[in-house]
Symmetry: C2
Subunit: 432 residues, 2 copies
């Protein structure tokens, strides 16, 4: 599935000037009488989406034909089967295309589990016994930071009566922030009016893309700060465009605008670089995670004090199993989890993960805020909604990523109606 | 291209029990009258090779149609074009499948350049002016450790008259070590006889796979040490099977056998874990690199003292351009570069990189030893040769990775003769 978002410069930032938001989609069918399915996806930026599809096809034989009981009772085994294949792991291991494909499949299986219990995923996870959640985590390469015993103690400590917290979350929703005003492609007047609108709508934090021009960024931060006023929070996101020294110097030039965080100041792989930046730009916090590719990297970022805000991605990590590990690591380090979202389906997914974190792992905390980005929600059967600075808690069963059949028909690449003229592809023999 | 190596348990280790050594192959054709081509490949373990092919096809439009002059005079620009595509970089960035594909293409272009000058690649690189080599390096995210000025000073410092060193290397060859005795699949008597044979042939270092059973490893190390005698060196390779604490405890149990290094003791992503292990197991050196996915990771491994032997991979890194960066980083940290090899075509490639390192970057040093693995060399037009513990310096033009047409016909997957019966594929319409 691809959406021609580059035409409107939606999603433009310092490293990704023209994304066509896309998704490699997995639908897991079952032979149950009720026809229950699991839906998952991996978000990409357009070109290369077909490479993730190829990786999903390479992993599929590891899942097709599994007994449903394995998915219900031993997702830890299923995860290790996918992530640990002796031939396929060379392609990562546990990173890049093959890990995105793992995520799409694993998340489809969790969607299936949640639909099976007729619960939204966050509720399904909350109701899973701590022992079962711990059994889903692959502790390989983690035990110097997180052991099964530590994880179990953490989850058990949160497993007391949660009905009051659930009711509160259900009533108030999850705190969210918006990136709608801040894409690099917008002119100043559009930035200002979008910031004023965001403040009027009640968003507590606005995030701007930065990193192309220091002069522009100072002007844009000033515009944004004036538009939202001194009470609301402002964050900036460099999308890895800087080297370590530049990140420090540039962030210091923007500190006057009272930044909540500086996001992706340098390479997503540079744990030690982020730690250096974090020490140099305090009290501004360093946020990262959307490109941090597995639990071993999060382990190091957190241990090194290189990640003050944990922005895990629902399908960059290898699906819910690996997210569980990272939620535990962040909680042990007392770092808020503010998941990356936007794109295609990321908002739909992360609301479940953040609600579960609030109720069962990290606990209620004022500094948890979940990214919200407008756009493309209408293509989902159960679109997530946010307004007034809060996400509404999902109520529909599943993980939220099932696409509407008419959207699939229109945006499937290259043969959907929206692409056929551009690509010269022919209509599929059987629509949908 | 896939070779059914799993049948003989060649290449078996603690994480990869049944590899079918494979390669995603790139041939860059030109419209020159002399029909000059460039050949490159990315090594994989079998399943998933087609995913790398899909990634190569996704990158191909960035190269097809380029003027040859760009490849001759601005490989830095070409590299950034491939690694920095605004949509494709989401699939990595600079890691996993998309980076393997980048390597295959970039190395094909370097092969083309070397054929153009009718030189083996090592000689072509030695003859490139330092300014031109520095212009090939992408310094993004490196400048806190390596700047263009530092790299230029390093390369200029080695650029004095090299004719004596070339003659010496040409006469003596490059020091090499063998893994032939040490695959996990071998029985004790086979291990012993292969170790005795290696010693008799003159190999100065033998490497054993370890990590499945401590008791077995102690017995196997004892057998190997007895077979090769006290003078020759012994190294062990765990292929990432251990967690940090296990790596320390296990390595200490094997130290009595006088280990030159312990290789891949834990996750390839765990810089801080490797640093902890390195401190704990000294004087045994920690070696790693074959899965270390880009220059930013090498920067950290070297800065943290987590990599005492740099085992870069010729096609895990994004081709020669990125290898240049890592060679400079290793030289600045006074760490020997002992490239990973084996598989399909890796020996053919690394001999060029190690010779260039010896002549122009790291300099002559007694602790440089290049991995040598028997097998599959016969499929190359210019197979590399090693004997008596030394690689012979290649003399044929190029990077050594052009396959023989008859091997392509036989092992192309799924339609080559060697696979057709197993896969049910039909013969290609036009062989070769």
């Amino acid at each position: 599935m691809r959406f021609p978002t580059s035409a409107a410069r939606v999603g433009s930032d310092a490293m990704h000037p023209d994304p066509d938001y896309s998704a490699a989609v997995v639908v897991v069918e079952t032979d149950r009488d009720d026809g229950i399915e699991g839906h998952g996806l991996a978000f990409t930026l357009g070109r290369g989406n077909e490479v993730v599809v190829a990786a999903i096809e390479a992993l599929a034989p590891l899942v097709v034909g599994l007994p449903l009981e394995a998915i219900r009772s031993d997702m830890g085994w299923v995860w290790r089967r996918l992530a640990g294949d002796g031939q396929l792991r060379w392609l990562g291991p546990e990173k890049g295309v093959i890990h995105l494909a793992t995520a799409a499949i694993v998340n489809a299986l969790w969607d299936l589990r949640a639909r099976w219990t007729a619960q939204p995923l966050w509720r399904h996870l909350v109701d899973c016994p701590p022992e079962e959640l711990v059994a889903c985590i692959d502790f390989r390469h983690l035990t110097d930071a997180l052991t099964p015993d530590t994880a179990l103690a953490l989850l058990r400590g949160r497993a007391a009566d949660r009905s009051a917290a659930v009711a509160r979350l259900d009533h108030e929703g999850l705190a969210a922030y918006t990136t709608a005003p801040g894409w690099l492609g917008y002119a100043d007047h559009e930035l200002a009016s979008r910031c004023r609108q965001a403040a009027a709508e009640g968003w507590g934090l606005v995030k701007l893309k930065v990193g192309q021009s220091l002069e522009d960024d100072r002007r844009r931060c000033a515009i944004a700060r004036e538009a939202i006023g001194p009470q609301r929070r402002l964050a900036v996101d460099a999308n890895q465009v800087w080297d370590v020294d530049t990140a420090i110097a540039w962030t210091r030039q923007l500190m006057a605008f009272d930044l909540r965080w500086v996001e992706e100041p340098t390479s997503c792989d540079d744990v030690l670089g982020h730690a250096t930046i974090a020490r140099a730009v305090a009290p501004v916090t360093v946020a990262t995670g959307e490109h941090v590719h597995n639990r071993v990297m999060f382990k190091q970022f957190l241990a090194a004090g290189a990640m003050g805000v944990c922005q895990l991605d629902a399908c960059r990590l290898g699906g819910v199993n690996e997210v569980l590990a990272v939620l535990c690591l962040a909680a042990l380090h007392d770092v808020p989890v503010c998941p990356h979202a936007g794109g295609v389906g990321l908002c739909e997914m992360v609301v479940h993960l953040a609600a579960f974190d609030a109720l069962a792992v990290g606990g209620e905390r004022a500094d948890r805020t979940v990214e919200w980005v407008e756009g493309l929600h209408e293509h989902f059967q159960d679109p997530v909604a946010a307004s007034g600075g809060r996400y509404a808690l999902p109520t529909a069963p599943g993980f939220g990523t099932a696409l509407r059949p008419e959207s699939v028909r229109r945006y499937r690449y290259p043969d959907g109606e929206a692409w056929r003229q551009r690509t010269g592809a022919v209509a599929p023999a059987s629509p949908g």
